[in-house]
């Protein structure tokens, strides 16, 4: 008996009890839709969180915060940088030093105090640093600034009785420096306490470029990126390491500081991040990357999704009771037909296959309808939920927030679970069909 003929049998049999089959398929579809929608929340939140991590910072970036040496954590120095740059698949190693005071910057009639860092531009370029405007410095006294640097520059004639910030806490447009910063001369004023008196030193710098803004709107970069030569000048004036201001209350300021404040390694791809991180950990470096965060997040969400799928499976198992009932009734109704078929030479295996095919068909049809329904619910959830939250809690969800997501893998999982459960529930009735006594089925006298 070919599969095509078995399929014809199943279809003819199902036509005879349309309403019962419809209700059973409906119950299965509801179970599948419940499973998919439930698990889709896990998938949706997982996707949202991953997107959040990936868009917040470069996923190929590895933060290297120090190295363990003789039971102590030491900062990364040029010695380690050389080693780090030799690590396989390491694209670039960026490093920054922070000035230990916040200098004042004067530009025309504007001034303000801004965090200042010394950065290694060749490695930043290799890591993919891009400028929003202008060019990288070529001269030691040329600098680039962060895209929000302008926010820290205030006009000298700032009115005392007027609100200078807008609703978002940003400097109002009318108080901002209105000209292009590129090519502007800026005066960096560093201070030092000498015998109780504050002395100032001015260094003249030229702005050559503005760095690209960070990935997220809420992140701001107001820094000024100076060169090693400028730092050397600052240090020679303050006579302290990294320009720290001498303060009798804080003797630590006079201590010599070594190593970089921020060191980041960059891998070529996300896969290599894990490999490099593992290697660096073995070499006693303290590393942290978005990849490791993703790893933890993936573990958490995998467990959560498995739990949701398990709960959803219970709904399908409940639906399978209906399938069992339908198949049992089908076998009972067709006892006479089965008896005749067996009498003329139908192998019990074929009879079993026909009934298993029927229960599988109910399962697959239920899975298909359930998936379509789940997609509709998922779309409605993603559209409706933010609106409900916004109106009920007056809270805006982050951009790109996805509450429910149905990846192809979830559809495959749901279909496989549904198929297994329906085949299992059809197994006993199918076996019963093979055990039907031909003589009893044909109601013959013995």
């Amino acid at each position: 008996m070919t599969f095509k003929d078995q399929w014809r049998f199943v279809r003819n049999n199902m036509k005879r009890s349309k309403s019962r089959i419809f209700m059973t398929v409906l119950a299965t579809a509801m179970g599948v839709a419940f499973l998919i929608v439930l698990a889709s929340v896990g998938f949706g939140l997982h996707t949202t969180f991953i997107d959040d991590i990936i868009s917040d910072r470069s996923v190929t970036k590895i933060q290297i915060s120090g190295i363990e040496k003789e039971n102590d954590i030491a900062p990364i120095t040029d010695e380690e940088i050389t080693e780090l740059e030799k690590v396989d698949n390491m694209k670039a190693v960026t490093r920054q030093l922070s000035l230990r005071q916040t200098p004042q910057f004067n530009m025309e009639d504007y001034n303000g105090r801004v965090e200042t860092v010394v950065t290694h531009f060749p490695s930043e370029l290799k890591a993919g640093m891009e400028l929003k405007e202008g060019d990288l410095p070529e001269d030691p006294y040329e600098v680039v600034v962060g895209p929000h640097f302008i926010e820290n520059l205030y006009p000298e004639d700032l009115p005392a009785d007027e609100e200078i910030y807008d609703e978002e806490g940003m400097l109002k447009e009318e108080f901002k420096y209105g000209e292009s910063l590129i090519g502007q001369e800026i005066e960096m004023v560093v201070e030092q306490n000498v015998d109780g008196e504050t002395k100032e030193h001015e260094i003249s710098l030229i702005i050559t470029g503005i760095v690209e803004p960070p990935a997220r709107d809420w992140m701001q970069d107001r820094q000024v990126y100076i060169s090693d030569d400028v730092l050397t000048e600052v240090e020679s004036f303050t006579e302290t390491s990294r320009g720290a201001i001498v303060d009798p209350n804080y003797p630590e300021a006079e201590q010599e500081v070594t190593g970089y404040n921020y060191v980041y390694g960059y891998a070529n791809s996300l896969e290599e991040v894990q490999e490099i991180s593992e290697y660096l950990t073995e070499e006693n470096y303290l590393v942290y990357s978005a990849a490791s965060e993703l790893d933890h997040l993936n573990t958490f969400f995998t467990i959560a999704k498995a739990g949701l799928i398990f709960i959803g499976t219970i709904a399908i198992i409940i639906a399978s009771i209906g399938i069992y009932n339908t198949m049992t009734m089908a076998v009972t109704e067709r006892t006479s037909d089965i008896g005749i078929m067996k009498a003329i030479g139908a192998h019990p295996k074929k009879i079993k296959q026909i009934f298993l095919l029927e229960s599988s068909y109910i399962g697959l049809l239920g899975a298909f309808i359930g998936t379509v329904v789940a997609f509709v619910i998922s779309i409605l959830l993603n559209i409706g939920l933010p609106l409900i939250i916004e109106s009920a809690f007056e809270q805006e969800l982050p951009e790109g927030f996805q509450f429910s997501s149905i990846p192809p893998s979830l559809i495959v999982i749901a279909a496989v679970i549904c198929l297994i459960v329906t085949v299992l529930s059809g197994l006993k009735p199918a076996k019963r069909a093979t055990q039907i006594d031909v003589l009893k089925a044909m109601r013959r006298e013995i």
């Binding site: 078929m341 030479g345 013959r444």
Partner: protein, 230 residues
């Protein structure tokens, strides 16, 4: 063609552990040659149907064996016997045993479907067989739309379509009027003469048994008379 050797069969009646043994067949032995029509006659309850069910593989005898085409079929399991039946044995039942949801064509086609023949081949054979039994115009009729005689013809056609060497018939005319009975008996004798099909038929009707080349009479589970027609 068929050898029945020392068949004994006992039914156990009543509740388990308190059963009563009821012997229905006692040392039954006979043989049917190729191309023969054998009629087993006897009153109701004589054990003739049980004997046919054992030969057809629907029951296992308590002891003894059945050999068909030199094969001991008593030892075959249900699946093996089903395959054997599909290739070698056709059945004609008293109450026709047609599947009511299938048309005459589909009922006749069923054994060919079970054999896995192609649709084209099935159509050809089924149409030929329908013609053979004189039902060419009843392709799409359901059993409920046919007379008793026509239903029995469909039942015979379903048996013939696989061209079996042996046909077992259980009271083939038991549900028919005398006129239709003669038509069916003519069909059976015609098939026997023209195609050489071996028939083993049980009947309580002496008139029907008369078409057989050999008759066996059973009484209380024992063969009491065996006669060969002239």
């Amino acid at each position: 063609m068929i050898d029945v050797k020392d068949i004994n069969h006992t039914f156990l009646l009543g509740k388990k552990q308190n059963e009563t043994a009821l012997p229905v067949l006692k040392n039954i032995s006979f043989s049917v040659d190729k191309g023969e029509i054998l009629a087993i006659t006897g009153k109701s309850g004589s054990g003739k149907s049980t004997l046919l069910n054992i030969i057809g593989g629907f029951m296992k005898p308590t002891s003894g064996s059945v050999w068909i085409k030199d094969m001991n079929v008593t030892n075959l399991n249900e699946g093996e016997y089903a395959d054997f039946r599909l290739d070698n044995i056709g059945f004609i039942f008293q109450n026709f045993q047609l599947i009511p949801s299938m048309t005459a064509f589909e009922n006749i086609e069923l054994p060919l479907v079970l054999k896995g023949l192609s649709e084209k081949e099935r159509k050809k054979k089924t149409e030929q067989t329908l013609e053979q039994v004189g039902l060419s115009d009843y392709h799409h009729h359901y059993p409920s739309e046919l007379s008793g005689g026509q239903q029995q013809r469909v039942s015979i056609a379903r048996t013939l379509v696989i061209e079996p060497p042996i046909i077992l018939a259980d009271e083939p005319t038991g549900s028919l009027d005398s006129e239709t009975e003669q038509e069916i008996l003519d069909l059976i004798t015609g098939l026997n003469r023209n195609i050489g099909i071996t028939f083993l038929m049980i009947t309580h009707d002496e008139e029907v048994a008369r078409i057989a080349s050999k008759q066996i009479h059973i009484h209380d589970g024992e063969i009491v008379k065996e006669e060969v027609s002239a």
